[in-house]
Amino acid sequence: MATEPSEGGLVFHPMDQFIVSPLFGDGAVSWYTPTNVTLWLAITVGVIALLLVRSTKEARVVPGKAQSIAELAYGFVYKMIVDVTGKDGIKYFPYIMTLFMFIVVANFLGLLPMSFTTTSHIAVTAVLAVAVFVTVTVLGFVLNGVSFLGMFWVQSAPLPLRPILALIEVISYFVRPVSHSIRLAGNMMAGHAVIKVFAGFAAIAAISPLSIVAITAMYGLEILVCFIQAYVFTILTCVYLRDALHPHH
């Protein structure tokens, strides 16, 4: 529908926004090259510091706007951990808070025009998901020893079913990091690409009002998605952590 040759001037580059390019010069991207990824990661770190450190500097008992946001974020993640994993999950609060703050801030920064969405890259979300997977697995074995494997042996099921369930459980356990990471990256990428496609249609004068309305609607949806995906990623991390802390549920 989009780029039939007959439509001539219409050109869509919905994926160009995701291209990783060096900040200085045009050279190859090696592992240490400062790229637009580096820039936007740095901005993410800066915004988090501004939000959580700068705003709480005065430590007022009656909070201002920025301090309220910091306290809200703190309370939100804290409550999530206590609700999902119980009191003993609080030890891992800084870790989970790091994940949540990084994802939510990176997602929202990606909504700025001309910005680069770091969380739309599978490389980024895969690192986050694999880190969670490895942490949870190691933690599970360290805290529970071999009995951590009991998680896959469903005691409540009839005995003949147990081996089959165990197989399914093991597969689903190893699929976790894949779904965990692709869910976030996919949501971010799809939304941004769709906005870009609608923006491409704005080149046709007759369609442009519709295109602008569509972009606005998508943008509203994306704001929702940005928060929800950060929330989903964090709460799934909590759920996996609970498995490691209490494998016999």
């Binding site: 529908m1 989009a2 780029t3 050109v11 869509f12 580059h13 919905p14 994926m15 160009d16 995701f18 291209i19 990783v20 190859a28 991207v29 090696s30 592992w31 240490y32 090259t33 790229t35 990824v37 580096t38 990661l41 740095a42 993410t44 770190v45 988090i48 510091a49 959580l52 450190v53 709480t56 430590a59 007022r60 008992v61 909070p63 301090q67 910091a70 306290e71 703190y74 609060f93 800084p94 870790y95 808070m97 790091t98 703050m101 990084f102 770091t118 739309s120 890259h121 599978i122 490389a123 980024v124 690192v127 986050l128 990256a185 996919g186 990428m189 799809a190 690409a193 870009k196 491409g200």
Partner: protein, 194 residues
């Protein structure tokens, strides 16, 4: 189709992620424009900088932000607890004050009652005395008046006698008799007594 950048963009745009996925999987190198997410050449770079960023965030949060926010929340909790305790105390005090006020009010009321009763009794006594005195006065006056009246009556009687005698004398004289004073007096006295 997949070899031209233009077409790859079109595929990604028109058929969404799946088409782009296919295009990228279909033999694109790192330079191809199918899906930048799948250009594995940029992975080390992204992963390296991501880890740097995550470590930075982790230290910012665990060393500065989270303890500080926890402190703020604890302080607030303390302040609220203190305020509630203070409010409880003030409430108790208010109850005490109210009780004291009620007691004072009751005391004042009974005192007022007592004073009123005393005053009433004193007034009653004074009144009784005054009435008794007045009664005595009135009695005395009445007795005096009685006496005066009886004196007046006696003198009036005397006057009547004198007038009667004079009249009788004059009548006798007018009828041509000679008035014998002794007889006239006797006759008048006899008539008056009768």
């Amino acid at each position: 189709m997949a070899n031209t950048t233009e077409a790859a963009h079109g595929a990604a745009g028109s058929h969404g992620a799946d088409a782009a996925h296919g295009a990228a999987a279909g033999g694109h190198g790192a330079e191809a424009a199918g899906m930048p997410q799948l250009e594995f050449g940029t992975f080390p770079n992204q992963i390296f900088w991501l880890i740097v960023a995550l470590v930075a965030i982790y230290f910012i949060l665990s060393k500065v932000a989270l303890p500080r926010i926890a402190g703020i929340l604890a302080d607030r909790q303390d302040a609220i607890t203190n305020d509630i305790a203070a409010a409880e105390e003030l409430k108790l005090k208010a109850h005490e004050a109210e009780a004291a006020y009620d007691k004072a009010l009751a005391d004042a009321r009974s005192e007022a009652m007592r004073i009123a009763n005393e005053t009433r009794a004193a007034m009653q006594a004074e009144l009784d005395e005054a009435i008794a005195k007045a009664d005595a006065d009135i009695g005395e006056r009445a007795a005096e008046s009685e006496k005066a009246i009886s004196e007046i009556r006696a003198s009036a009687m005397e006057s009547v006698e004198a007038v009667a005698k004079d009249t009788t004398g004059a009548l006798v004289a007018a009828l041509g008799g000679t008035a014998d004073e002794g007889r006239i007096n006797a006759a008048v006295d006899a008539r008056l007594k009768g």
